[in-house]
């Protein structure tokens, strides 16, 4: 590692320093709001720093890339962390959390996401993923008054540990087979002379995929999702469903791109996984009466669609996937943001009955939620539609027509549960208890997410141009 490497890592280093000092500050300063606001400031400034830092050639210590792709996701995850902190302010004040700890964990998780998305070395990948997962073990259980939260934390811990085991073992096998941990050599070395994967390579890939499957909850590794989401406080759930999954997808795209033609041996398997994930995500959400569980199934269905984009194995497919991820992250952040803005002292309106008639008493936030849900569902004129369109377009172009049909059918089914929420919000029966009126920071987040969803829905061109520029 030399000075140039350090310069490229500057924003990350700044973030770590900021997080650590806020952690220490938390020991002296009891003003939760101040610490959270400084956390927001630190993450925004880090995002800005990685935006304006001069471009660096090559990579950082052979572990992480410093290219446009890495930088794009670094900025994006830092912003995601900032938004998460913005919707956490009231939550952490009302629950009297140890703010320094909370902020530091969110920022460390963001760092893990950034490193994971820019990994070009299997160890870098492992480091990034573990940094992110470790932070989440604590974050998920941050509402210590809730049993569900503790249960969710334990579930995530156990399954996370299992996934880590799979990942480490998979990396070990890939190293055994190819003799390298550096991408793309590590995967190129897996090919035998006939173009197929060596047995060890296949096994290694299988274990890697299992780990990825756990992290982004692909069927059949999806069972933890609904329980964990339900128990997790919504600001953390927002971060978990967006950043934690998106970063794994971003890292996974890097793996897939470097794997070359050996990928063909896996694509049949992944085809089935993608189809099942989309179908289960759509069907599983139908009977849910808890909004957070419903969103968990929605996120499962979305990850299935993302996998379709990755399966295309074309630049069109990858850029569609990245666009889809960006849009999904924005809409999901906003959705959980609305839930967080209605919560009071850690009590969130999760049950759909609590949303009954809310649309008339809080028209602004419920309209925003309607719009974001429709974007998640993929209605035209929202960004979600362009995302789905781009993915299915890429899929049909690469000949995955039947997968596109399955995707269309499952997004039709998913529409039913998104609309169920909308109907409930605008049904006349009114509930007595008053949810929180929300606060400016939360409204700011909602405004930003809504604007982004509409703008990207009507004018997706610039983002697509940016994505095709940064694609490795």
């Amino acid at each position: 590692m030399n000075w140039l490497d350090l310069l490229a890592l500057g924003p990350h280093v700044f973030l770590v320093f900021g997080a650590t000092s806020l952690l220490l500050l938390g020991a002296w300063c009891s003003k939760t709001r101040v610490i959270l606001l400084s956390g927001i400031f630190v993450s925004l400034l880090s995002a800005l720093l990685s935006g304006i830092a001069p471009p660096v050639d090559g990579d950082i210590a052979g572990l992480f890339s410093a290219g446009g792709y890495a930088r794009f996701f670094t900025i994006f995850w830092f912003l995601t962390a900032a938004i998460t902190l913005m919707i956490s302010v009231r939550f952490s004040i009302e629950l009297n959390l140890n703010a320094g700890e909370y902020v530091a964990l969110v920022l460390f998780a963001a760092l893990g996401m950034a490193l994971l998305s820019s990994a070009i070395h299997l160890l870098g990948l492992f480091l990034g993923l573990e940094a992110l997962t470790l932070a989440f073990y604590v974050l998920i259980a941050s509402n210590r008054r809730s049993e569900l939260s503790a249960e969710a934390g334990l579930k995530y811990l156990l399954l996370g540990a299992v996934a880590t085991g799979f990942l480490a073992f998979g990396i070990g096998l890939v190293y055994t087979a190819s003799g390298s941990l550096h991408l793309p050599e590590a995967f190129q070395g897996l090919q035998a002379e006939d173009g197929h994967l060596r047995a060890w390579g296949l096994l290694g890939w299988g274990l890697l995929l299992t780990a990825v499957g756990f992290k982004i909850s692909l069927v059949p590794f999806h069972l933890w999702t609904a329980d964990v989401y339900q128990g997790t406080p919504s600001p953390v759930a927002a971060f978990l469903s967006t950043g934690a999954k998106g970063a794994v997808v971003a890292g996974f795209i890097g793996l897939v791109i470097s794997s070359g033609s050996a990928w063909k041996d896996l694509s049949d398997l992944l085809w089935v996984v993608a189809a099942l994930t989309m179908i289960f995500g759509a069907l599983g959400g139908l009977p849910q009466n808890n909004l957070k569980r419903l969103l968990a199934y929605s996120s499962i269905a979305h990850m299935g669609t993302v996998l379709v984009g990755i399966l295309c194995q074309t630049p069109t497919g990858f850029s569609a996937t990245i666009f889809y991820i960006v849009v999904y992250v924005i809409a999901n952040l906003g959705t959980f943001g609305v839930i967080a803005s209605f919560s009071r002292a850690g009590e969130e309106p999760e049950d759909l009955d609590q949303w009954r008639g809310l649309g008339y008493r809080n028209p602004l936030r419920c309209t925003v939620l309607t719009l974001l849900l429709l974007s998640l569902a993929g209605l035209p004129a929202t960004a979600g539609f362009i995302g789905k369109f781009a993915i299915f377009h890429a899929a049909i172009q690469s000949g995955l027509v039947s997968l596109a049909i399955i995707g269309i059918i499952s997004s039709l089914i998913a529409f039913a549960y998104y609309l169920k929420v909308v109907i409930v919000m605008f049904s006349p029966e009114s509930q007595a208890d008053r949810p929180s009126p929300g606060e400016p920071l939360e409204f700011g987040v909602l405004a930003a997410c809504t604007t982004a969803v509409i703008l990207l829905g009507l004018f997706p061109g610039p983002l697509f141009d940016l994505i095709s520029k940064i694609l490795p």
Binding site: Y360, P363, L374, L379, P380, A381, F385, I386, F389, A390, F392, H393, I396, Q397, V401, A404, I405, I408, I409, S411, L412, F415, A416, L419, K420, I423, F426, S427, P428, F459, P460, G461, F464, D465
Partner: protein
């Protein structure tokens, strides 16, 4: 075809027409406090939009390929999606119908009490969506408007509907969405095939029509489009959502649903499915004809057995739409003109009947034929107009539906005499259920002590509808003339 237009109006009238209602809707949403303002705003915007449509009708001359005006700019360059609105005679007639019926809707929506701002905003969004559907020449733009028109109707049914509104709204939405998602697949599929073939990616209908397709591809893609259009139209056997949606929808919602929304299905067939897949179309025409006849009889039979007037009108609409599709399947100039004219007349007459059902329901609080009786004795003016529209709907010569029906039958007779003969038999059904409706509602002993006759607002709604009903019956040429060139062009490539 489109790009060769030389009479481009400098001012984007079409965009103005499409987006004026949408901006009105935003104003309504921002200004929900004053219900009175929202009502007047809605009405003003609807009248202004109708004014633009009339102005375009009077001032613009179609060019050689039948286009009145065209607007075309690039929208999403990456996928070569263009913002392309264009209006030919068929679109013009549909636009006139839409903007006119929206004024009627606004007036009919006057007594709505709950969430007035939202209600009028949704009506205006619906209008924007419908106008967009009729004008868009780019398939993605078309798809966008197609879905945008769905959302307000979903809320209109789901919020202001009757007892089973939630199920009805969801059924309506998912049913139509199922069709349109398959259309989306077909659109993307066609786009990819066209792009691979020519190296020039485009979603413009005129470009895509030049794609060389194998018959198998044509069938698959045609099927995708057909899924959307057949469900929306609704063709038998995809019609079951309409009676539910219609009977649960509020008065205005059902007027827009039958008067306008289901017309988009037939319009899609004419404008998109037929020209894009000529071979599959000509192969499928007999099937269309058969299903149209089935619809004509089946829906007529069902209509005869309904006690709820709205369900009766829903089945009658399905039956009429069957006749429209029969005319299209006959594939002659006369039949097509008749079909298009019948769409307009059906919108006017059934719209008027639905408006009157709402008026009756306000007075007697029922739509059940078993409970209604003897309205004539108490409200003669209301009853007289009801009689007029009902007779027009059953196809009495000199009134609206007749001219369309007779053209359809004559045109069909030219190519398929058997169909025409069966079609005439089907029209008799219309007489049966309409006469039953008239008899039950108007004649007999009055059930209520006192029923008020028409109020000024109701006169204002019904008089223009009555004038149009007679006009369409006596002098349909006004509406047939703009249809000539586009119909000839549409039929050009085929037998």
């Amino acid at each position: 075809m489109i790009n060769t237009v030389d009479t481009l109006p400098a001012f984007p009238w079409l965009s103005l027409m499409v987006f004026l209602p949408l901006s009105g809707a935003l104003l309504c949403l921002l200004h929900t406090r004053s219900e009175r303002d929202c009502r007047w705003l809605g009405l003003t915007v609807a009248v202004a939009t109708f004014g633009i449509a009339i102005w375009l009708f009077l001032s613009q001359q179609p060019n050689a390929s039948g286009w009145f005006c065209v607007e075309d700019i690039e929208w999403i360059g990456r996928f070569s999606i263009r913002y392309n609105l264009a209006m030919d005679g068929i679109a013009l007639v549909m636009v006139l119908l839409t903007t006119f019926l929206q004024i009627v809707s606004m007036l009919l929506a006057w007594p709505v009490r709950r969430h007035v701002g939202l209600f009028f905003a949704l009506l205006l969004i619906l209008e924007s969506g419908l106008l967009g559907i009729f004008l868009a020449q780019d398939l993605i733009l078309f798809y966008l408007f197609w879905e945008v028109a769905l959302i307000p109707m979903f809320f209109l049914i789901g919020i202001w509907g009757h007892n089973r509104r939630h199920e009805a709204a969801l059924k309506f939405f998912l049913y139509t969405l199922a069709g349109s998602l398959f259309m989306l697949l077909a659109i993307i599929g066609l786009y990819v095939i066209h792009g691979d073939q020519t190296g020039h990616y485009s979603f413009l209908i005129s470009d895509l029509a030049r794609t060389e397709l194998t018959l198998r591809q044509e069938y698959l893609l045609f099927g995708g489009f057909l899924a959307a259009f057949a469900i929306k139209s609704p063709l038998v056997p995809f019609h079951t959502w309409l009676p539910d949606a219609l009977s649960e929808a509020p008065a205005v919602g059902s007027l827009d649903l039958t008067g306008l929304l289901i017309k988009t299905g037939v319009y899609g067939l004419i404008r998109i499915a037929f020209p894009l897949f000529p071979n599959a179309t000509s192969e499928c025409l007999p099937i269309f004809g058969t299903f149209a006849l089935v619809a004509l009889f089946h829906a007529g039979w069902c209509a005869y057995h309904q006690d709820d007037i709205k369900r009766l009108l829903a089945y009658s609409s399905i039956s009429h739409l069957g006749l429209v599709v029969l005319g299209l399947a006959a594939w002659t100039f006369t039949a097509w003109q008749g079909s298009l004219l019948l769409m307009v007349s059906h919108g006017i007459t059934t719209g008027a009947l639905l408006a009157m059902v709402a008026m009756i329901r306000q007075r007697i609080a029922t739509r059940n034929l078993q409970k209604l009786s003897g309205l004539w004795a108490q409200a003669p003016c209301l009853s007289a107009l009801f009689l007029l529209f009902a007779l027009a709907s059953l196809g009495l010569p000199g009134l609206a539906n007749f001219s369309g029906e007779i053209l359809v039958l004559i045109g069909t007779f030219q190519t398929r005499p058997i169909w025409a003969i069966m079609g005439i038999a089907g029209v008799v059904f219309a007489a049966a259920y309409m006469l039953r409706l008239i008899q039950r509602v108007l004649w007999g002993e009055p059930t209520q002590a006192e029923v008020a006759d028409l109020s000024p607002r109701e006169w204002l709604i019904l008089i223009p509808l009555a004038i149009l009903t007679v006009w369409l019956g006596i002098y349909p040429a006004t509406f047939l003339k703009p249809l000539e060139t586009p119909v000839l062009l549409a039929l050009g490539g085929l037998p």
